[in-house]
Structure formats: structure tokens, C-alpha cells
């Protein structure tokens, strides 16, 4: 047991070192010809992108092309992200169905009728191009689907184990999954929602917990190169929106009474509290959204910033310090992956508990 723990620690450390070096190498090669811009590199890593960039070899970027799906005035337009040839500065123009598209900092713009090059205003926003409705399979969407496949593999395999062995003894992957599932049930569902009503919300809580957790972990895996899905506000918005919907639709009489006509306080206080409670209804899921997004993105930014120090100071002497620090942060981040998934789930459960609480 002790030996296994030791082995695991060693592997984690090795893994993290490779991961940190991967970032360093990537950023160096990518911007070798011009002055190193840490902010641009970090933002490029943290934000979404159209292709799945894996590595640069001899200054030649290798990436998995992903489909771009756009709804323009002329209808659906699709092409592969490789048609931009790794350009994200609006230089390569892709022509489809008589429409011209450019990639400006990983946002696709459609050039206005007759334009052949992007023009920028003072703040570097394109002036002669509009953003079409964009349903592209970006690298975040792609990684999300990979995570779904992994989740399904893990949990369907585990579930099959139960169905096969009639004696309900967890074996194999089920013995790994079961404590986590029981943890979500006994430490999140039961105490936050209550012994009698938690069952209805268990599928949501379990799914959200594992979905966030696995995507947090994927964000830390180096070869996936900043697939920062759970650090993307769109993703956290979608999940927080689900929590909001479930809270709102499972709210009972008591819950709505607490919002619109707070019991047990004088009438002026009731009137005063009503707007606060109504705002609170929305602030709760918004806080969920921002918490997860900010925590995960901050972790990525810190690690990348520490790595950038090497290139800002332009000396290898800083490397050990940078690697040591980002290793340290990386280990913390591994803990954070679970903590943030836990917090999101606990707070969701808490809101469900509030919505279904009976008058007392």
C-alpha cells in the first residue's frame, strides 16, 4: 500500500514535470521569431480554439483539425479548421459559398460583402467583419466529448459489473467508482437536501460532479494542451444554468414564499427583502458559474505565468525555480480539480435543498 502510494506520487511528479516542460517548449517554439508575449500565450492557452493543437515540431505546428460549423445569412457553412493553416491573426481567408471567413484570435469572423482583408480599429477589433452564429466543434467541445466517452466507459463498465454479479460485491472498476458515488450520496446529497428528497436529485449531482471533475483533470493533462473546458465561462454557465432551472422548477410553496413574502418578519421588511431575494435567485447560480470558471482559469494562468518567467528573463537559470513552483501549483491544482467539482455539487445540492425544504 505504502509502496503504491509512493509510486503514485513519483508518477504524478514525473507527469507534472513533463506537463510543465510541454508548456514551456510549446510557447517557446510557437513564438520563436518574435518577442515573447506572455499574455498572448497564456490567453491563447486558456481560451477556446478551433483546432486541437498538440505540439510544434521544428516550428511546424501539429494539430487535429476540427469541424467549423457556421450559420450565416446563406445558411449552414461547414469546413475543417485546418483550412486556416494554424493562422489566428486574420491573415488566411477561407472562401466558402461566396463568403469569406477569417480567424482572429480564435474567433471566426465573416467578412462583409466585397471585403478581401480584415481591417482593425484602435482596439484591434475587426471593423469590416461580423461574427456568424458559431456552432463549431472547438477543442473544448471536442474535449468535452472525449470526457463524455471516458465517463461512459468508466461508469457503464462499473454498472455492468453490478448487473452481472448478482451478489452486489463491487469488483474491478466498480470498487473504485462506488466509494465516490457513495461519497456524493452520503456527504453531498443526503446532508444538503435531506434524507427523504435527495434521491430525485442524485443523477444530476453525480453527473455534474464527475463531469466537472474529469474536465478539471483533463485541463491539467499536458498533451491535451490547455483544453480548459471547465475554465471556460460558457461551460460553467451551461452547468449553472441547469442548476438554476432545476432549483426553480423544484421550488415548493415554501421556497417561493421565502422569496416573495418572507415569513416571520414585519411587512416593511418583507417588502425590503423581496427584491434582495429575487436577485439572490439569480446570484446563486451566477456565483457557481464564476467560482468554477475563475478557480480553474486562475490555476492555468498561474502555471503558465510561472513558465513564462523563463522566457521573460530569457535565461535557463530561472527554469528550476519556475518548474518547481509550477510543480507545486500543479499539485495544488490536482486537489483543486476535486475540490471545485465538490463545491459546485455541494452548492447545487444546497440550493435544491433550499428549494424543497418544508415550512418549519
Amino acid at each position: 500500500m505504502t509502496f503504491n502510494t509512493f509510486k503514485r506520487v513519483v508518477f504524478t511528479v514525473l507527469f507534472l514535470s513533463v506537463f510543465s516542460l510541454g508548456f514551456a517548449k510549446d510557447s517557446k517554439d510557437g513564438d520563436a521569431d518574435k518577442a515573447f508575449n506572455a499574455k498572448e500565450m497564456i490567453m491563447h492557452h486558456v481560451k477556446d480554439a478551433y483546432g486541437m493543437h498538440i505540439i510544434d515540431i521544428n516550428g511546424q505546428p501539429i494539430s487535429i483539425p476540427l469541424p467549423v460549423i457556421l450559420f450565416t445569412d446563406n445558411g449552414l457553412t461547414t469546413f475543417m479548421s485546418s483550412e486556416f493553416h494554424h493562422d489566428y491573426n486574420g491573415e488566411v481567408i477561407v472562401e466558402k459559398n461566396g463568403q469569406r471567413f477569417v480567424n482572429v484570435h480564435e474567433k471566426i469572423y465573416q467578412l462583409n460583402e466585397g471585403e478581401t482583408a480584415v481591417m482593425y480599429d484602435a482596439e484591434h477589433h475587426p471593423t469590416n467583419a461580423e461574427r456568424p452564429l458559431d456552432f463549431s466543434i472547438t477543442r473544448n467541445v471536442f474535449m468535452m466529448w472525449v470526457s463524455v466517452v471516458v465517463l461512459l466507459l468508466i461508469f457503464l463498465t462499473a454498472a455492468r459489473r453490478y448487473r452481472k454479479s448478482g451478489d452486489y460485491v463491487p469488483k474491478g472498476i466498480a470498487s473504485f467508482v462506488e466509494p465516490l458515488v457513495i461519497f456524493v450520496r452520503d456527504e453531498i446529497g443526503k446532508p444538503m437536501i435531506g434524507e427523504h428528497k435527495y434521491k430525485r436529485f442524485m443523477p444530476y449531482l453525480l453527473t455534474v460532479f464527475f463531469f466537472i471533475w474529469i474536465n478539471n483533470i483533463f485541463g491539467l493533462i499536458p498533451i491535451l494542451n490547455g483544453a480548459n473546458l471547465s475554465g471556460n465561462i460558457a461551460f460553467t454557465f451551461a452547468l449553472a444554468f441547469c442548476t438554476f432551472l432545476i432549483t426553480t422548477f423544484s421550488g415548493n410553496k415554501n421556497y417561493w414564499k421565502h422569496i416573495f413574502w418572507m415569513p416571520g418578519v414585519p411587512v416593511p421588511m418583507k417588502i425590503f427583502l423581496m427584491p434582495i431575494e429575487i436577485v439572490g435567485m439569480f446570484v446563486k447560480p451566477i456565483s457557481l458559474m464564476i467560482r468554477l470558471f475563475a478557480n480553474i482559469t486562475a490555476g492555468h494562468i498561474i502555471i503558465l505565468a510561472l513558465m513564462s518567467l523563463i522566457f521573460i528573463f530569457e535565461t535557463v537559470a530561472v527554469a528550476p525555480v519556475s518548474v518547481a513552483f509550477s510543480l507545486f501549483i500543479g499539485i495544488i491544482e490536482i486537489v483543486v480539480t476535486a475540490i471545485q467539482a465538490y463545491i459546485f455539487t455541494v452548492l447545487s445540492a444546497l440550493y435544491f435543498g433550499m428549494a424543497t425544504e418544508e415550512a418549519h
Binding site: F155, L156, A159, N232, A234
Partner: protein
């Protein structure tokens, strides 16, 4: 600003993906896993309670056994006591009877002895009487052979009779 603006496409895909994941996992993973866990917990609970029941029953049985044993012991004790009492009683009864018999026999013997003695006494008296008469006859015969003496005796007798 770009960083904190939710991208519509990603929101869309996230919602779709999450909904599908939720539905699939709920049906094929969470239900069987949670169901199995609950079944097992229920099984453990019932096994524990039945074990507890068995323990209680065992205790009851043990108590019963103890009670029966105690009863048997008491009964044996009582029986032994009865037997001892009976024995003592028999012995004392026998003793009493023997005593009574003995005293009765002694009494009878005494009565017999008494009557024998009486008979013997009566016989002895008769014998002594006849003997005395014989002797007296012989003495009188001898005495009356002499005239003087005859007179004297009459005189004595007369004297005596007057005195009376």
C-alpha cells in the same frame, strides 16, 4: 473581456452534451449502481437485524435451558428430600412399631408372670396349708397322747379366747 463572455456555441454544445450524458448515465449507470448499493445496504441491515434476532432467540433458548435445568435440579432436590424424609419416617415408624411390640410383649410376659406367680402362690399356699394341717395333726396327735398336755392346751386356748 473576451475571457468572460460566454460563447454561444459552447453553451449550446455543453447543454446538449450534458443533457445526453445525464440521461444516459441516469438510466445505465446511476440507477444500477445506486440500486445495487441500496440493495446491499438493505441486505446488510436485514442480515444484521436477523443476526440480532437470532442472538436474542439464542439467549431466550439459553435462558429456557437454564430455567429447565434449574427446575430439574429443584425437582431432583425435592425428590431427594422426599426420599430422605420417607426413609427417616420409615425408620422411625419401624422403630416405634418395634418399641410398641416389644413393650406389648413385655407386658404380656409380665401378665403371664403375674398370673403364673399367683397360681404358684395359690398352689404354694394350698401346699403349705395342707402341710401345716398335716404337721398340726401330727403335733396334735403327739400332744394329745398325754392327758396333762391335752388339758393344758385346752386351758391355753381358753385363755387366749377370753383375752380376745
Amino acid at each position: 473581456m473576451d475571457l468572460i463572455t460566454p460563447d454561444f456555441g459552447l453553451v449550446f454544445w455543453s447543454l446538449i452534451t450534458f443533457a445526453i450524458l445525464l440521461i444516459v448515465l441516469r438510466k445505465f449507470a446511476w440507477k444500477p449502481i445506486l440500486g445495487a448499493v441500496e440493495d446491499r445496504e438493505e441486505g446488510i441491515r436485514s442480515a444484521l437485524s436477523s443476526a440480532e434476532n437470532a442472538r436474542k432467540e439464542m439467549e431466550n433458548l439459553k435462558a429456557d435451558n437454564e430455567r429447565i435445568l434449574q427446575e430439574a435440579r429443584n425437582e431432583r432436590e425435592a425428590m431427594l428430600k422426599d426420599a430422605r424424609e420417607m426413609k427417616n419416617k420409615m425408620i422411625s415408624d419401624a422403630k416405634d412399631e418395634a418399641q410398641a411390640q416389644a413393650s406389648k410383649m413385655i407386658e404380656q410376659a409380665q401378665v403371664a408372670i403375674e398370673s403364673e406367680k399367683k397360681a404358684a402362690m395359690a398352689e404354694l399356699k394350698n401346699h403349705v396349708a395342707s402341710l401345716s394341717v398335716d404337721i398340726a395333726e401330727k403335733v396334735v396327735r403327739q400332744e394329745l397322747s398325754n392327758k396333762d398336755k391335752q388339758l393344758k392346751l385346752v386351758e391355753d386356748m381358753l385363755g387366749e379366747a377370753t383375752l380376745n
